[in-house]
Symmetry: C2
Subunit: 197 residues, 2 copies
């Protein structure tokens, strides 16, 4: 084989993530990626099989980055503070790379649909972190014990929903969305989930 260049696959994913971040999904094209990665469009087909598959790989990469970003918050003595910190990190990631974030959740709409098993796995790994944090909060007694996945799902839905609305520019229904919507939303959730008294 001709120097199989095992990095070509990796390079294509990273170039795609960069182009997506900086110029948006409209700039994603096979020819552009091949040029920027210093190869030809055929490499894209030998390594991925087509453009949609590459986008899926980029989505998986995005979830991996989200995972890393959220994993950066070190567990402290106060699990509840950790939960809030994780939420802040999550929002920070989405705002830092909105195009990628939107494609991650909109790929169901963009490509053809439905995440494959592989992407679901990566996404679920990221979600698993949240479940773990929730479990620790329960262990600490800051919220009542119940199905951690269900509780984590509620937090995720609230967080994701807020972030999407903020990214869409629709959050300007209020002056300070973060203070008037996100913060009370999480606080209210924590209050209702809190110990009986």
């Amino acid at each position: 084989m001709p120097a199989p260049d095992p990095d070509v696959r990796r390079r294509l994913i990273e170039v795609a993530a960069d182009v997506l971040s900086e110029e948006g999904p409209g700039a994603l094209s096979a020819r552009r990626l091949a040029r920027d990665a210093g190869t030809s469009t055929m490499a894209l087909y030998t390594h991925f099989g087509g453009m949609p598959a590459l986008v899926r790989a980029v989505v998986a990469e995005g979830f991996a980055r989200l995972y890393d970003r959220v994993a950066e918050v070190e567990p402290s003595a106060d699990p509840l503070a950790d939960l809030v910190a994780a939420a802040v990190a999550y929002r920070g990631y989405a705002l830092a790379d909105p195009h990628l974030y939107l494609v991650m959740f909109g790929s169901a709409s963009l490509g053809e649909y439905r995440l494959t098993e592989t992407e679901l796995e990566v996404g679920l790994a990221a979600f698993g972190q949240l479940v773990a944090v929730v479990e620790r909060v329960m262990d600490a007694g800051a919220i009542r014990r119940s199905d951690p996945a269900a509780v984590a799902g509620q937090f995720w839905a609230a967080l994701h929903g807020y972030v999407m609305i903020e990214l869409s520019g629709l959050s300007h229904v209020v002056e300070d969305p973060e203070a008037q919507i996100l913060q009370p939303l999480l606080t209210n959730l924590l209050t209702a989930l809190g110990p009986p008294a």
Copy 2:
């Protein structure tokens, strides 16, 4: 003018919404729409100016339909029940036309970005309904009095976030997402927002 056919604009929007609903965004193309609407691609440019503008019109149409759908829930004697009914109607709309719903919120990612003033207005009109319901719930004393827009924003974020996760297929982290995530999420929000007791 040659029978200005004032319906061409309307027909293009409706055909686009239909194609989007039934075959997804990948099937949206100027040539396809022109063919289905019984005209040529030029009509698209005289009426909209280009493909992105047409997509924006479809997004506005989607928000209008969402508005109508949610407006169908008649105010009853129990505003709190009305709020829940509105949430059910909202989810129903999103699940009934997932492609359109995803484009509505993902158009920031699809086209080039940012909703224009016009779409924001339509979106905000839909949001206004929710604010009104929240105000009536406050009047009834079922939740504490505070900024209705901020409270409505929290509900919207929670609802939208849940719906997005459900549409992405990511909600299968639990067996029955609606019962384990959406329902408790709204209930918890209502509980925390409820009167001091």
